[in-house]
Subunit: 295 residues, 4 copies
């Protein structure tokens, strides 16, 4: 027999910009919000009966309306607020997932109203809520980092298809994609969550990632990955699990011998594809069960 399995639906990539004006000094928050709901959705799939469906259009409207009513502070708070609203206000909706990307801006030349989009990484969060519990995974992507030294790679398996020479010094470069799970998110009281300092936590994690990348004398990108995750957990007690995906952006030392030149670790070709891809999880042994946090 053919049956319906897991499903969800929502509005993806609602681009909302929220301006707050304090006299001549303005602030902006620039977000990309995606909401997904699930619940009593058998009928809509099987017969097209939409009576349990809160439209994706209404989800989008809610994002805009809440940005006006509640303002936008930390994206994590905004995500939880939306997730709770959808589940708590609609009996047919049993679970909500709200994912937000935030783009950073800096002030232009000290102006109160002029901004330049920062090239910093994109900050992300994914909140889940099921009517009783909430989960929060924060993250970032496109944090591109490079070490010009302190990276070796040797001692690996040599099978019949291995031609890579060992190296005692290479460039190590990657575009960090990281997600980290918070141990506990109060579901009862939004104000309590609001008391969490999400922004401070984000900056701590980001700093831990950067510091570990810079400070690790690396014998493999896996070792660096683990060091980065472990450093986050060591520095940030509120985090119980870190997941990292690190593309190894190969920088090949160019052979200049045909031109009568040496190349003492100076000139590199930055390659696109193929690339290594190192993925791993670092967590506390007593991390609470993840539930739907990573879905």
């Amino acid at each position: 027999m053919i049956i319906l399995g897991p499903n969800r639906y929502g509005k993806a990539e609602t681009r909302v910009v929220r301006v707050t004006r304090h006299g001549d000094v303005h602030h902006i928050k620039d977000l990309n919000v995606s909401t997904s709901l699930s619940g009593e959705m058998a009928d809509v799939h099987l017969t097209g009966d939409n009576s349990a469906v809160l439209t994706t259009d209404a989800q989008k409207n809610t994002v805009f309306a809440f940005a006006r009513k509640h303002g936008v502070g930390a994206v994590e708070d905004f995500a939880l607020l939306l997730a709770r609203h959808f589940v708590d206000s609609r009996p047919t909706i049993h679970r909500a997932r709200v994912a937000i990307e935030e783009y950073a801006w800096e002030r232009n030349a000290g102006s109160g109203h002029s901004f330049v989009r920062s090239g910093r990484e994109v900050r992300t969060c994914v909140a889940h809520y099921d009517g009783s519990a909430a989960w929060m995974v924060c993250g970032l992507r496109d944090l591109v980092v490079l070490n010009t030294t302190n990276s070796e790679f040797w001692g690996f398996v040599k099978d019949e298809y291995t031609t890579l020479p060992e190296t005692r010094d290479r460039i190590l470069a990657t575009a960090v994609e990281a997600s980290w799970r918070h141990s506990a998110v109060s579901s009862a009281d939004p104000d309590e969550d609001g008391a969490k300092n999400w922004d401070k936590s984000y900056e701590s994690v980001r700093q831990a990632l950067l510091t570990a990348f810079a400070g690790t004398y690396s014998l493999s990108l896996q070792q660096t990955l683990y060091a980065m995750g472990a450093r986050v957990l060591a520095d940030c007690p509120e985090i119980c699990e870190v997941r990292l995906a690190l593309p190894n952006r190969h920088h090949f030392l160019v052979d200049l011998a045909p031109f009568g030149l040496d190349n003492p670790d100076e000139v590199y070709l930055a390659a696109d594809r193929p690339y290594g891809l190192i993925e791993g999880t670092v967590l506390r042994d007593d991390a609470p069960a993840a539930g739907p946090a990573w879905e």
Copy 2:
């Protein structure tokens, strides 16, 4: 205590083109191959000891060498061949994941050696192998379809943020991303798998998706999604589960009244963002356990 969790590593996006020449009539296969391995990788993460690591460079070399030695038939066979090789030949590698994208080409003007890249969807597969069992998920992406009629949307929840009018006729458009799991993949005998007709299976699934999209009188995109998945299962006994992600590419009927014009379902604005996103699974109630198939 901080511990290492699930991890894998490999070479992503090796772009291999394989030409087969039968006199003046040539054939090409154009692939993007990504391999990921996991196994006894604690040491490399914790101390940088690479003695269990088959380099991603060797993985890439293997892809090229196998393309020469074994040729490339159906991508599923090639993926299984690679996955089995990595696990069976290296004691420290316990599981392999091989993902392949294939780009289609057509003959240029009847020529034996000239080709035009087809704009058809991208065909995908993901094979897993753990030393005893194998799993296969096939799929496609970027199959963009549109119905100009036979789509309604009404009877949905009206909450305080709902402004969408009901409609009895709208454009329904989406870019199909589909993955489907095969019930059984022989792990003992590659030749037996070779006897599977992966290409024929792929064409059957593709046709089922297109036929169901065209033929379903739709009251919601969820209903269409379910119909597409169910049709695949009905037509293809070798498939036990289908997962679909259907972005609802909104086409808004333009209000031309300000210009003294009616718009009897003729002129639409094709919008980019936000978009609806409908995700769902359709499966057999007796589908075998998925194991790592979807990872």
Copy 3:
């Protein structure tokens, strides 16, 4: 003294989909329209006086309204219609440029109302009109072609930085970007232009490009480029000039000798960057002056 130089403004990338319904058999045109106007625009630049400015919003509205009023046949006709309208109806607008991209669709399974987006190349046109004369450049992009043989490359300059070996057989692959100028475009009478068979002309040019690519025994991509342009001019008397930009998508024969394997022109690495880029113009010696056609 600081002065204002050439300038133009408009609405870019208006995505309009036009459906025509003949009973149960529907037709769609899927366009991306960009309009640019210029004229008496000194004041708006120097003082912000907008009295000569037809808003880009109105330009967009015009695109939609004209799609309703006039329908959309060949994109060239639609582009000329819009260009003429902007200039002829507004005394402050002296020149219009209308660029259109068209995306092709095919019928889904013989259905009257269900379509699949074709992966064919994107068809383009750029129309200019200045109140008395009109110009038309048609084109295409993303036409990806590949020859598995009949391509050599040797006899080139060997300077101190040349290491490339000569070859008597290589893969030749490119993504054709082509534009071609029509000799004459009637500006007086839209209906007369309508009598031009733009669609037929497009298919002739496309076929000439494909045929020349397939049929040219190539000693260099430049030779192929010239053959493609010359073939268009030979086959299509209405065209007076062809411009081509051909990225040389390198396919490197993989050295499999380290693995004890030969590679008799079978296994290639498809590289991304860097790539060769060959650009050239082929034209009739008596081609009329181009005027603003290429701007």
Copy 4:
């Protein structure tokens, strides 16, 4: 008769990373270099005779070799060095165009060897050299700026397709793409050019663009464009011409009235397409002839 028109060929997007090591303090330059040559190229087009062709592969090799031999200071100097080399060393090459993109990096946490890619705009330059004269156009792209106030738009033409309401306060946002031509580039003496402070000039132009964007009370984006160009010319005597392309990234104030909410310039939808596109040139009335500078 069919003839060959303007043409050029070269190697596009050579990604070279140059590391300079002063003890433990390292410096990196991250470039994307594209070279194009033209000259006695009739034979290669007409007959495939490559005897005048310096291969694109050799061009790429030259980029790497020169990065080693000469180092990489300002990208403008590196571009001129390459352009002069190709023309002066090969009798069949009469003109060279070298375009470079530079990606900025910042130090990671004060480390001497660890870097984070900055999200700043991409810096660009295009050098031309014809054996006697040289030309230099510098530029930037992806400089995304936004003003939350001090932008009005009213007093424009109202034709039958105009529905846009006038506004006395709106968000003004754009992604600046700017190019500016230097008045004079010494062709005789590379060292003299080296004495130019390209880096300082770049920072001055960038600052002028940002300051003018922030400081202009705008009645139209055209006015802002002109102010930006004029400011560059006023602040930077070495520049004679500025070209700007400013997409108007519309931020629509969301109508929240259906939800019983006002929206006092707080919540906006950031739209993708269509977008306004304002293009213009600001120059000195005594700017020298541009020659091939903009090609």
